[in-house]
Amino acid sequence: MKAIIAGFAAIVIIAVAAGYGLNQMGAPTDEAQSGDDVRLD
């Protein structure tokens, strides 16, 4: 069961790190194709 918990924990860690990294790069679609004058939410 340790492998399952470790695997799922790694998903969360990788996802959080990726989210931070992508935001720093301005890479996700809503960031890359948007600007201050655009409201997507």
């Binding site: 069961m1 340790k2 492998a3 399952i4 470790a6 695997g7 799922f8 790694a10 998903i11 990788i14 996802a15 959080v16 790190a17 990726a18 989210g19 992508l22 890479a27 996700p28 679609t29 809503d30 890359a32 194709q33 939410d41």
Partner: protein, 398 residues
């Protein structure tokens, strides 16, 4: 599944193919090549119209009237001609911001993409998943749980090491999350909105998109891990033919010999690698929009093989608008994801409720010897041989 794959290929070709001139189009001599009443009526009925004449009728700068003459200011292009050039994306557009994406002012394949996404892709994809679930329920009712002949031995052997199980669950967990969020993104407007309203759908889709974009990286990492760890065990060999001939023991009472992975597991593995890689590549193209065009190069390669000629179709376009690249990426991404989801649902079934003694392989890492003998007899023999050679002094190795 084969039908969905065929549909995907057809859709890709349909969306990618330029609107080719029809050789048996209506007689347009009366209109000097311009569209006729028949064309207009056909368009209204949603039929395909030969627009080659309109596509080419975008003015001729070499016949431009001089600037000091009447109608000379547009460089020999009338307003209708200019609009046609914009319509078919052949106008020489210069933009101050936005790059090549902004230079495409009208993109008619967007409508075809939207209709395909909300039509056949969602419909056939949804039915594929439901059909797979239904088929498995039926199979379970008919076949029941595949038992270990003679019962479990009560002695276990190590089937997968920690790092293998870790990679498996990294892949499995991320794929399930990606599948669920992907389905929410695809079906949100048609399923969530009527049930829960626009506000709920907005929250769900915003969250789904963020989770999908970020969890994707765990999927890619785990895909690379299983490739490195298991590729040598999944090279096809002659034993696979025996496995197929005996239906893998899933149908019938025979249990074909197998090494670490049998032919059925190899299908799962290569499905993950091939479909997973394509889904990852198209996904990266979507996460970084307009930065990683895939299809121009892919189509050029396909054309170079001469495949379109063999199939009797026109060469695939080697120049695509950035928007068309994204649309093709989305269709291939979602279509292949549906196929892989169906395969993985079957994999989950056989690894859990469908087969006695199978789940331990990926939970504790250990399986019963009787199970191992029944499903992976050669692997078990090799394992025992190794243990005997090491005199049982060390932890059993794979």
């Amino acid at each position: 599944m084969a039908r969905l794959l065929a549909l995907l290929v057809a859709a890709t070709l349909f969306l990618a193919a330029p609107v080719a001139a029809q050789t048996s189009g209506p007689d347009r001599t009366a209109t000097g090549g311009a569209q006729t009443l028949e064309d207009i009526l056909a368009r209204q009925e949603g039929l395909k119209v030969d627009d080659a004449a309109r596509r080419a009728d975008t003015g001729d700068a070499s016949n431009a009237a001089p600037f000091d003459a009447q109608l000379g200011t547009l460089g020999g292009t009338s307003d209708p001609e200019l609009w046609r050039a914009l319509r078919y994306d052949t106008a020489d557009i210069t933009v101050s911001a936005g790059g090549p994406v902004a230079e495409t002012l009208m993109q008619s394949s967007g409508m075809a993409w939207l209709e395909f996404r909300e039509g056949p892709l969602s419909t056939y994809g949804g039915w594929l998943l439901l059909g797979t679930l239904g088929a498995l329920v039926l199979f379970y009712l008919l076949r029941g749980r595949i038992a270990v002949d003679g019962g479990l031995a009560g002695r276990t052997v190590i089937r997968f090491q920690f790092i293998e199980r870790f990679a498996h669950w990294l892949l499995a967990g991320s794929f399930i999350v990606l599948g669920l969020t992907g389905l929410a993104i695809l079906f949100g407007r048609t399923v969530i909105v009527p049930l829960f309203g626009h506000e709920a759908n907005t929250v769900l889709l915003t969250a789904s998109m963020a989770i999908h974009n970020n969890v994707a990286w765990a999927f890619i990492v785990s895909l690379a891990m299983i490739l490195v760890m298991w590729v040598w065990h999944n090279i096809p060999n002659r034993l696979d033919l025996v496995w197929f001939a005996q239906m893998g023991g899933i149908i019938g009472s025979k249990h074909p010999p197998a090494k670490k992975f049998n032919a059925g597991q190899k299908i799962i593995f290569w499905s993950c690698i091939v479909f997973g890689s394509l889904i990852s590549a198209t996904g990266l193209s979507l996460i970084f929009p307009f930065e990683f065009p895939l299809f121009e190069q892919a189509f050029a390669l396909i054309n170079a093989t001469g495949l379109p000629g063999l199939l009797g179709i026109a060469p695939l376009p080697e120049v695509l608008t950035p928007q068309a690249e994204m649309q093709l990426a989305q269709i291939l991404h979602a279509g292949l994801a549906f196929v892989l989801m169906a395969i993985i649902i079957a994999h989950i079934y056989i690894g859990s409720v469908g087969m006695e003694g199978a789940s331990g392989a990926m939970t504790t890492g250990e399986v019963d010897e009787a199970w191992a003998h029944q499903h992976h007899s050669i692997w078990l023999d090799e394992l025992k041989e190794k243990e005997a050679r090491s005199d049982g002094t060390a932890t059993p190795a794979e």
